[in-house]
Symmetry: C2
Subunit: 320 residues, 2 copies
C-alpha cells in the first residue's frame, strides 16, 4: 500500500466539526475558529522507545498516541477538535497492522469527537507515529502551569501508578499478566480527562498539568513555573485497589514517577475546591486533595513516614 492509498483508505467520509472547512485532500487542511483560541501540541511515539510489539498491539499504538495528545488538551482546559498524523512505516509492517493503528486512532477519535484532517505517510526503518492535535478554549480560560498560587489546594484525578505497573507486568514474563487486565488497559488505553477539565471553565483560575512523566515531575513543573513550593502527602496519593493488591517493591516508584497515567494534577484556591469536587462527580471521576502550595522556593516536598523530604523529578525522594 503506497502513501496515496493509505491516506485514501483512512480519509473520513464526513467531519464531526463544522469548523473543518477542508480536511484531507489538498495541500493543507483549513479550519475556522473565530470565537475561541486554538490550542495545539505534538506528541511522537517511536517503536522500541515508547512501545514494542510486546507491550502494545497496533490498535493500542494508534489509541495511545492520540490519548497523549488529547490529554495535553485537557491539561490546557481545552476541547480537542482535530489532528494530523505523520507516520513513518518500515517495510515489515503489513497493511493489516497499519489499518489496526488507524482503527485505534479512530476508536478514541470517536469517543472524543475529533477529526483526522491531514497526514503524511513515508517509509523508514522504525515505526514512528507523530500526532499534532488542535483544540479550542474560551479566551483567557487556558490552564497554564504558572497559575498556581500560595494557599492553593493541590489535587489529582483518578489514581496514580496504574499505567507504570501495567507496563511493568507486560515487560515481565509474569504469568499473572492476564489477571491484571485493569492495569494493562490503563497502560494501553488511558482515558484523558477532557470532560472534567471542560467543567472547570466556570473557574477564573485553575492550574492543570497532565501526568505524563509521573506526579513528581509534574509537581516540580508547577512549582517552578509558578514560583511556589508544593507539599504533597504520600498517604493521600490516590491508589487503585488493583495496584495496591500487586506485591511489588516498585510501588513507590510507580506512584511517584510512573508516567502515562494521563490523570490531571491541578491547583485551585481553597474557596473553589468544592467546585472542582463537583466537576469530578459530574464526570464520574474521583478527585483527591494531595497537598497544598505555599510561598517558597519553587520546590516540591513530600510528607512520608512522618518526615518531610525533598521530591525531585523522576520520583527521587531526598532521604538524608
Amino acid at each position: 500500500m503506497d502513501e496515496f492509498e493509505f491516506i485514501k483508505q483512512i480519509k473520513p467520509n464526513y467531519y464531526r466539526h463544522d469548523t473543518i472547512i477542508k480536511g484531507i485532500g489538498d495541500d493543507a487542511a483549513v479550519f475556522r475558529q473565530p470565537y475561541q483560541d486554538v490550542v495545539t501540541a505534538v506528541d511522537t511515539f517511536v517503536e522500541g522507545i515508547h512501545f514494542s510489539k510486546k507491550t502494545m498491539d497496533p490498535f493500542h499504538i494508534g489509541y495511545r498516541v492520540l490519548a497523549a495528545n488529547i490529554s495535553d488538551m485537557a491539561a490546557m482546559g481545552a476541547t480537542p477538535v482535530s489532528y494530523l498524523i505523520s507516520l513513518v512505516v518500515p517495510k515489515e509492517w503489513t497493511d493489516e497492522e497499519l489499518i489496526a493503528i488507524y482503527k485505534g486512532m479512530e476508536s478514541i477519535s470517536k469517543a472524543y469527537k475529533i477529526d483526522l484532517i491531514g497526514g503524511d505517510t513515508v517509509s523508514g526503518d522504525q515505526l514512528v507515529l507523530s500526532v499534532t492535535i488542535n483544540g479550542k478554549v474560551e479566551k483567557d480560560k487556558v490552564r497554564l502551569r504558572h497559575h498556581v498560587r500560595s494557599g492553593d489546594v493541590l489535587f489529582v484525578t483518578g489514581t496514580l501508578g496504574d499505567s507504570a505497573c501495567g507496563l511493568d507486568l507486560l515487560l515481565s514474563d509474569d504469568p499473572r499478566v492476564e489477571s491484571h487486565r485493569y492495569l494493562i488497559d490503563r497502560h494501553r488505553l488511558p482515558t484523558p480527562r477532557v470532560d472534567f477539565a471542560e467543567r472547570l471553565k466556570v473557574l477564573n483560575r485553575v492550574a492543570l498539568n497532565d501526568i505524563s512523566d509521573g506526579i513528581s515531575s509534574e509537581a516540580n513543573e508547577l512549582a517552578e513555573s509558578s514560583g511556589v513550593s508544593i507539599y504533597l502527602d504520600y498517604d493521600q496519593l490516590p491508589i487503585s485497589d488493583e495496584l495496591r493488591s500487586i506485591q511489588s517493591n516498585k510501588q513507590e516508584e510507580f506512584i511517584l514517577a510512573g508516567g502515562e497515567d494521563f490523570e490531571l494534577l491541578g491547583a485551585v484556591s481553597e474557596k473553589d475546591w468544592p467546585i472542582v469536587q463537583e466537576a469530578a462527580e459530574k464526570s464520574n471521576l474521583t478527585v483527591t486533595q494531595v497537598g497544598y502550595a505555599t510561598d517558597g522556593d519553587s520546590t516540591v516536598y513530600i510528607h512520608q513516614d512522618e518526615k518531610v523530604r525533598l521530591l525531585k523529578r523522576g520520583g527521587y525522594v531526598h532521604r538524608n
Copy 2:
C-alpha cells in the same frame, strides 16, 4: 543533550506574531486567529529516504523540511505563521548537528517571519524531522485544487527541474558539482512562493498546487480534483539556463517528474491572467503560461514533438 535541554536551547525569546498567546513551555501552545481561517499541514523528512548526509548538511535538513511546509501554505494562498517540530534523533547525531538543523529552520523562519511554538524530541534509530505548520488565510480565499475551470490559463512560477537536477548532481560523483551551485542550492534551499500567492488575494478564484512531486503529478491532481482536462505545452515549460546547459539524458524526467522545486502550478481565468502576471512581477518572479484547461475527462495531455500525448503522474508520457 536530553529532550528538555534541546527544547530549552531552541525556545525563542520572543514571538514574531502577537497572535501567539503561549508558545513553548506548557502542555500545548495557544494562538488566536479570530478574523481569518487557520490552514495547517504536516510534512515528514526521513534520513535515507528524503535525504542523506551526502545530499544535505544538517542546516539544509532544517531549512528544507520547513520550506516544504511553507510551500504548502503558499499553495493554499495562505500566510505561514507558526510551526511545531517532532524530532527523532539517533545517538550518533551530535549536539552540534542538532543545533545546525535548528539553525536551518531558524534561517527560513526568519525569512518568512514564522514562529516555532512547540515540539517533541525523542530518541530513535533514524533521523526523522516532522513539521506541522499553521498559517492564516482570509475567509473564502483558500486556493483549492478543485478550483480549475474549463478555459483557464495554466501557469507555472519560476523554472522546473532544477531541484531534481541538483539532487542528481549531488548523488553522482560528478566533479562538476561545485560549478553548479545554483542547481544544488535549488535542491537544498528552495524558495516557497508565499509573497506571490499572497498577492493573488485580489482574485476571487485561482487554483494553486505546489510542485513537490513534479508538474506531471500536480497537473493530474488539478485535473482530477476539478474534473477538467489539462493541456500542457512541453516547449513552453520554463527551464533555467543552468538546467539547459547540463548535458543529461534525464532532462525531460527532471522537467516533468522532478519534485521539490516548490514552484506553484496554477489555473486562472483568461480575464485574470494579467493580474497573475502583475503579481509575479511585483514578487520579482517569472510566471509562464504552460497550457490551458478544457472540459474533459480529468486527464492531462502534453503537446510535444508536434504530437499530443497522455501525461501520467511520475512524468510518464504515453507514446504509442
